[in-house]
């Protein structure tokens, strides 16, 4: 127990930014929109959260700023793909590029600021204190799970992702729903960034997220667009990362480069094991994912 508790705690924390960003992207993709700009939105969220929090705004306001900034970045994306009907993959990648640059630009005045991290709540004596963000990530999971499968809104959202033209014909406001889904994705990416910059590694430096946005994107695919599997994937990825560090510290005589490959390889292997059960998995992908939709077409 004593050996496993710290590993568990570190895994939970390492998976949290992936869960936030992944759940947001999952909802966006369920509405049929592929936003590859997660890394960019995360960084914009991170720098905004850090800037507000470290300028005396406090952590709550900082987190809200991160969420807001992520939404603003995703609004730009929504404008381009929903109104200008731009290609989603390209626009998302452009957003990732733009976000890296913008966050570095805004952040120049904040690199030297210092911030105290969040201190957690103690749930039970003897257990490590719980971080509000980690608790929040589980709450967000429950919310998304409920919304997608137990609410009418979720049903409509999925219908829009499967066949926007049918949803449109039935009188649902396709564009509005996609706007909401994109903004939700942006908010979640911003929240992931806020967690990184104000709690996990409380600092601002260029490229703080170090590629976590891309991993979150991959995990949505890994999850076959199901929230529960996303959670499992994030813990798998985080857990293997932590375990290989433990292996190294214990003195395993395996080149560290191979140890560092493990989280990536584990994800591939597990996805293959899940997928081989049949075509049902592939059908989980929202049918209209990534395609431009226009009422005339």
């Amino acid at each position: 127990m004593n050996d496993w508790l710290p590993i568990l705690a570190t895994t939970l924390a390492a998976a949290t930014p992936l869960i936030f960003a992944g759940l947001g992207e999952l909802v966006t993709e369920r509405a049929g929109v592929l936003n590859l700009g997660v890394e960019g939105m995360m960084l914009i969220g991170a720098v905004s959260a850090f800037a507000v929090a470290s300028s005396g705004g406090g952590l709550l306001l900082g987190t809200l700023a991160g969420i807001g900034a992520g939404m603003a970045a995703s609004a730009l994306f929504a404008l381009l793909v929903l109104h200008c009907l731009a290609n989603q993959m390209a626009t998302g990648l452009a957003l990732a590029l733009f976000g890296v640059g913008l966050s570095a630009f805004i952040g120049r005045d904040y690199v030297s600021h210092v911030l105290d991290g969040v201190s957690g709540y103690t749930l039970l004596d003897g257990l490590p204190p719980l971080d509000p963000f980690i608790v929040g990530s589980l709450g967000l999971f429950a919310l998304v799970q409920w919304f997608l499968y137990r609410s009418r809104g979720g049903l409509v959202l999925r219908a829009v992702g499967e066949s926007p033209s049918t949803a449109h014909a039935l009188g649902y406001p396709v564009r509005l729903i996609r706007w909401a889904a994109i903004l939700f994705g942006g908010a979640c990416s911003g929240l992931a960034g806020a967690y990184l910059a104000t709690d996990y590694t409380p600092m601002w430096v260029e490229g703080l997220s170090a590629g976590r946005g891309w991993i979150a994107l991959a995990l949505v695919v890994f999850a076959t667009w199901k929230p529960a599997r996303l959670l499992a994937g994030a813990y798998l990825f985080g857990g293997v990362t932590i375990l290989q560090f433990h292996g190294q510290a214990l003195g395993l005589a395996v080149p560290s480069q191979f140890m560092s490959m493990l989280p990536y390889l584990a994800t591939i292997v597990v996805l293959t094991l899940i997928s081989r059960r049949g075509h049902a998995i592939r059908l989980n992908a929202p049918a209209s994912l990534g395609q431009v939709w226009h009422p005339d077409s």
């Binding site: 690199v111 600092m203 932590i242």
Partner: protein
């Protein structure tokens, strides 16, 4: 992913490089520059607030401050070590910069190539091993500060185990790890050092995760050879001690930060600039240590007891006076094989090629 940035070399390698390029050496005649002297700096990462590039930029600012309008400095940051470096270095030279500092190991071959095309421009390359008539090389003996930091770590540790978060297994990093554990064992013969490689110079999240891993495995003093302040912050959060690297990181962990092994390029950069302005610059191979002020320890945290501080000050003086060598024999590698006997110490060349762990380190260094 910049893997092979920065690192050092010297000694025989430099001699070999010089021999190979001897025809050029004969041409060595760097003219006195027209003022203001235009100086270019090539950085491998963003400047930030701490870390490798930040320390080099402090050097650039010191030059601007000292020489005022006699110099004009420019820099390009985040230059990757592949094909882009040659273009940036050449661009500086072609645009009238008469002195170019290339501040990462991976710029070595590009710098030499450009230097051949611009024989009247002075190049200074950090942490490489190839010299030429118009290419000087420089690095610092980071291991001297690491040794002192190891002494502090062993004295402050209650578990006798320290943790080291390292980026890539290149000689410079391995040398630092070995010097640290030598320092630890000089005051606690049973001390242990656990090493985790994150395979990235910069990834605050992974650095933190590696730090927590080591903390979970009994390490109560953490240090790092990576580029962010995440390890110091993680130690602060967990109530452990930490030793920073590159820069004084005390503001990121006021309680945890015992000291830091710091780099200082200001003095060297000022001297090079002065030499170039005077027309007296000559290609040289500088590997400066505590004595030259190119490495140092950041001010010690008040929690470090007076006797430990005194011991560190004494050992520092001994290193400066040449009485103490962190790699003095008898030196055993971690398999118990004797590398050198009593009375001898590793030569610079042996140091620069170091690719084995000395005794006291948990884990194997993959070959």
């Amino acid at each position: 992913m910049n893997i092979d940035r920065r690192t050092l070399l010297k000694g025989a390698a430099a001699a070999a490089g010089l021999a190979a390029l001897s025809p050029l050496h004969a041409l060595a005649a760097i003219p006195k520059p027209t003022l203001p002297l235009k100086i270019g700096f090539v950085y491998v990462s963003p400047i930030g607030d701490a870390g490798w590039t930040y320390q080099h930029d402090l050097g650039r600012k010191a030059v601007e401050e000292s020489f005022g309008d006699k110099v004009q400095t420019k820099y390009v940051e985040s230059v990757s070590e592949g094909a882009d470096a040659e273009r940036v270095i050449r661009d500086f030279a072609a645009n009238g910069h008469q002195l170019v500092f290339a501040t990462s190991f991976g710029y070595m071959n590009p710098t030499l190539k450009v230097a051949r095309a611009f024989p009247k421009t002075v190049f200074e390359h950090a942490t490489g091993y190839k010299q030429a008539a118009n290419v000087g090389i420089y690095a610092a003996r980071y291991y001297e500060a690491r040794y002192l930091a190891g002494i502090i770590a062993a004295k402050m540790s209650t578990t006798g185990t320290a943790g080291y978060i390292a980026a890539f297994p290149i000689p410079e990093v391995v040398m630092g790890i070995n010097a640290f554990v030598r320092g630890m064992r000089s005051v606690n013969p049973d001390a242990q050092l656990k090493v985790v490689w994150v395979n990235a110079w910069f990834d605050p999240g992974k650095e933190r995760e590696a730090a927590l891993t080591l903390a979970a495995q009994n390490a109560d003093v953490l240090t790092h050879h990576t580029d962010s302040t995440a390890v110091v912050q993680a130690a602060e959060e967990k109530g452990l001690y930490a030793i920073g690297y590159h820069s004084d990181m005390s503001k990121y962990g006021p309680k945890a930060h015992l000291t830091a092994a710091t780099h200082h390029w200001e003095g060297f950069y000022r001297k090079v600039v002065q030499d170039v302005i005077d027309g007296s610059w000559e290609s040289s191979n500088v590997w400066g240590g505590l004595k030259d002020g190119m490495v140092d320890l950041a001010p010690l945290n008040p929690v470090v007891p007076g006797d430990v501080a005194a011991l560190v000050a004494q050992k520092k003086q001994e290193i400066i006076d040449g009485k103490l060598h962190p790699f003095a024999g008898p030196l055993f590698d971690q398999d118990g094989r004797q590398v050198i006997g009593a009375g001898a110490s590793l030569t610079d060349e042996e140091l620069l090629k170091m690719n084995y762990y000395v005794e006291g380190i948990v884990g194997k260094l993959p070959k």
